[in-house]
Structures are given as C-alpha cells and as structure tokens.
Symmetry: C2
C-alpha cells in the first residue's frame, strides 16, 4: 500500500531539513508518496494566507504530515495545522546523545503536552482602554484524553506538571483528572508544580521520564529541556490525533543560517521516525533512530554541533547507515 504523506517545508531552514527527512524516509524502503504543500511567511509575502486553505485541507485528510518551520507567521501556521489533524497531544522527547555536548548528559525525558486548550484556546478581549483579558480553558474531557494516551505511553508511570496552587480550578481540574484516570488504569503518577519542575529539570533531570503538561507549561518546559540537552537541533515532535498526525522539529526557521545548506537535519529526521512509528513502521522507525544516533556519535556533524559538515553530508551519512 502506498502511504501518502503531506510535506510542508515552510520557511527558512524548513526548506532544507524537510527535503533531507524525505530523502531518509524514501531510503527506508516504505512505499511513500509525498505531496508537497506550501505555508509560511513566503506565502504571506506573496499576498496569500500563511496557511493556504489547500494546505490545511491536505493535512486534514492525510494520515501523516511532515512540517518544517514557519517564520513570523508560525502561530498562524502551526496552531491551525495542529487543529486540522485534530491533535490532542504533542509528544516532545528531549534526550541527550553520545557525542553531543549537553549541559545535562543524563537527560531523557518525554513531554506529553496538551495540544488543544489552555491559554491556546485563545479567547482574548480588550475590556477597556486599560484592561485586557484572556480566558484560559481547561476541560475534563481534554485532560482525560491526554491522560489515557499518557497511560498507554508510560504504563510505568509519569509526572503531572501543574500550577494548581494558583490556578486552583483549572490546573486543579487538569491535575486531578489526569491523576484519576491514571489511577483507574493502575498507572502511578506524581504531581509537580511547574516552577519547581523547571528547577528540578536543571538539577536532576534523571528523576523524570515522562511529564504530562498543560499546553503552555509543555511549551516552556520542553524548550528549557532543549537547552539542557544541547539545543533545539535534535528535538523532534509529534502532534498526535486519533486518525492523523503532524510531525515537526521543535526548532524554528533559524534565519541566521537559512539558505547556507548547513542546517542540522536531525530533529526533522527524528520527527520522520516518529511519523514512521505512528504509521506502524516500528522497525523502520528504529532503523532511522539508530542511524541518526550513529551519525551523532561518529560524525559528520553540522556546525551547531561543532562540526563543519553540510546538511547533505549528514543526510547522506544517515541514509548510508540504513
């Protein structure tokens, strides 16, 4: 069966790392058909919508979409795309690799970020000249769906991040619902205040394996963890929905190096591995991850990792190891 994958390179280094990941996907031997679609600043600059209707519809109907990055228009592209695939959880692994300098070499944490609500629900108002408000939304149903996923993902247990000492009703509902569902499933959990967790991740990340987070907490804690494992160049992510998925590196468009052919493709290639796994090509996903790990350990490396290889060199080296 041919698997149809929608591919949206976007802006900046997205245009370099997405083709690299496509090369790797093609080398796995799975019968893929790639449908390319546009989005991002370069579309907006030509007078279009940063997320064209056509691109949105393609993602909303494909089993899987691989996305690169968008510039200034990032929020207008990625948030509607996450919505288009009806994603309820953003899976963000943050781990270190042999051969890569990291502030915290022992780190290997997966963040399961709520992907539909929180402050992202987006009801804002300018009530008066002086006062603006945002309505943060936390629902039991979204918390339950996330918790069920977390229980399957981490049957050995997980940590629930929250700020329920201040956001008592909303984060209280989040924390209590996630912990209740876990208990019903016989999964152990503990709860941690997100501020304390930010500190503990810096001090003792090895104490955490899976952290379930409200939307914005997951955004901040996973980016912070990128800092602890050596930067955004290695962090993949998966926006998982019941029927489709959207896979993207955590990094952005990196305007400082875009167009030079030296962007690190690993985060996007690892996102492609998450795509393979989502489509039930578990062996191929493992192969891709092993190949990336081998290249990270032995080179070639792009400049962000202290090397001087080009994107193409790293991509070829990954493909050769498959």
């Amino acid at each position: 069966m041919t698997e149809e994958i929608v591919v949206i390179p976007g802006d900046g280094i997205g245009q370099e790392v997405v083709p690299a990941a496509v090369d790797v996907l093609q080398a796995t031997g799975v019968d893929f058909e790639f449908v390319e679609a546009t989005a991002g600043d370069h579309v907006a600059e030509e007078g279009g919508d940063p997320l064209p209707e056509e691109t949105r519809d393609l993602a909303a109907n494909a089993d899987a979409t691989l996305f690169g990055a968008a510039g200034e228009s990032a929020a207008d592209v990625i948030l509607p795309l996450r919505d288009a695939v009806d994603s309820f959880v953003n899976v963000r692994p943050a781990r270190t690799y042999p051969g890569v300098d990291a502030l915290k070499p022992g780190m290997d944490v997966v963040f399961l970020r709520e992907n539909t609500e929180g402050v992202y629900a987006g009801h804002e108002a300018r009530l008066t000249d002086d006062v603006s408000t945002l309505t943060r939304v936390v629902s039991q149903s979204a918390s339950e769906r996330l918790a069920e996923y977390a229980c399957e993902f981490a049957p050995e247990g997980f940590t629930v991040a929250h700020k329920a000492n201040v956001m008592r009703e909303t984060d209280g509902l989040f924390r209590d619902t996630v912990q209740r569902v876990a208990e019903e499933n016989g999964v152990e959990t503990d709860a941690a205040l997100m501020d304390a967790l930010a500190m503990h991740l810096c001090l003792r990340p090895e104490e955490y394996e899976v952290v379930v987070c409200p939307n914005l907490a997951g955004d901040v804690l996973s980016d912070l963890s990128a800092g602890l494992v050596g930067g955004l160049g290695l962090l993949p992510s998966a926006n998982i929905g019941e029927e489709r998925g959207l896979f993207e590196p955590v990094h952005g468009t990196a305007p400082d190096i875009a167009g030079q052919g030296v962007a690190n493709p690993c985060a996007t290639v690892l996102s492609a591995a998450m795509l393979l796994e989502y489509l039930d090509y578990g062996d191929e996903a493992d192969d891709v991850r092993d190949a990336v790990e081998g290249v990270l350990a032995h080179g070639p490396r792009t400049p962000d990792l202290g090397g001087d290889a080009a994107t193409a060199d790293v991509t070829n080296a990954i493909v050769e190891r498959l």
Copy 2:
C-alpha cells in the same frame, strides 16, 4: 530613628533562616525593632487562618517585612502578603558565586516579575461539568508601573519576556506597553518569547542582565534560573511597593531538612540585604552582600553546598565578616 521590621518566619526552615537573617540585620548597627508575626501551616493546623488578620495588618502598615516560607498554605500566605504591601514588582536576582558549583557559572540575571495580575488575578470558574476557565488579566497601568521601575532599575536596557505570538491581546499589551515606556525613557529593550528564553537562559545566560516578565513567566523563569546557579538556597527576592516592601527567599519550607538546624540561611540573609537597600541603607546592604560572598567563597558551608556546617555556623561567619 528606629526602623520597625515585621518578621514572619512561617513554616519549616523559615523558622531557622529568618532568625539567622535577623541576627545579621542586628549586626549591621542599624537601629531595628523587630515585631514577630505568625503565618503558615502551623497556624492553620491550630485552627487559625494561615494568614491571620493581625499578621496581614502588621505587614500592611510596616515599611518592611521579612518573610521566611510557608508550606501547603504558601499561596494563601504569600499572595495576600504581596497584596498587603501593594507590591507591583517582585525583584529576583539569580547569580552565581565564587566557590559555589553552578551549571552556568557566568549567570547574573535579575528578573523583574509583574506582581499583581496575569493568571494570579485569579478569576476562575467551573462553567460546566466539563469546562473550567481562568481569566488572565493584563492591564496597561500595571505594565506601565512595572516598566517605569524597570527603567530606573536598568537604565542600560533590559529584555521583555512574553508569549505574544499566542496571547496576542494580553501579552501583546504587556510587551508593547513595557517597550513603549522604555522608549519614552530612552532605555533600550529587546523582546523574547518566554519559551525561547527558557532555552537561551540554559545555553547563554551571560547574554541577559535584566528580564522583565509577566507574573507566571517570572515565576517559572526565575525558578529555572535557580537551577542554573545551583539551587534555591542562594536566591533572595524583594516584593517592592510604592511605600512598603516584603522580602523573602525564593525557596520554600524544605520539609526534608526542617528542624535539623542545617538550612542554608544565605537566601534569607541576601533578602535582608535587599531590605536594607530598600530602606536606603545602601552601605549596610553592600556589607551584608560582601560578607555572604566571603563566606560562600571560603566557608563554612551548609550541606546543600557540599559542606557540613550548621545554619548557626554560617550565620556567625557572616556576622564576623561585617
């Protein structure tokens, strides 16, 4: 003139580090009178309000209050206390010291955290069985007051943290107001997304000196920075109002070591130095800071810093250096 200081040890190690800081304040030679007041879990356990009306009123009428920590009731104690002194900014310096192990030895950042609103404004509701909401409030007036303080505090410029790509109206108002006031005062600023900032603080903290934050962003970014400088044992803070101030270590009650007499008093002593500065005893504040620095560099040190000294040993060593 006798300076009246309200002293609220609170729970856990608060009961050990606040008396230590009082000893240091007494050794400065300033004519202080200390009025002790109670708050925290131990009051609630005896059937009282965790923040007794009397304690609240004392803080609301004193020029300066020194607070330790509160346990489970922390939010019910510290948030009303910040309100009682009409504090609009929470000043949180995070720096490393010679002789203290830190993940990021070059770090020296001061967070200026908005102290009245954001998600802390606290309007929550359970709309239906399924849905809860919290109304986040951002006002132009609070942002202006914070910005004016920031301009005086950091005339050489500062960074504004925000998440205005998602919270467009509220954090947009925050960012734009703070940057406008800064421009009117000839102070340079740049703006940084709080998620990216969490990462950059881990990677290159030396690029930041002063960061102006919405309330929760300041909470998380300062705790994360505590992790980068080696833990909470060294972080003081000042809740500044127009007419009064409330000074407290960033750390909590540390139930694991409470009652053993080995808590690190430095964060509270450094908070007392901020109190001295607030009351215009700048020289004495410098003396206290120098004494703490000397002790951190040469010992004695409490167990959290790898030593085996008691709270009293460290306190005496600080006093001797004055």
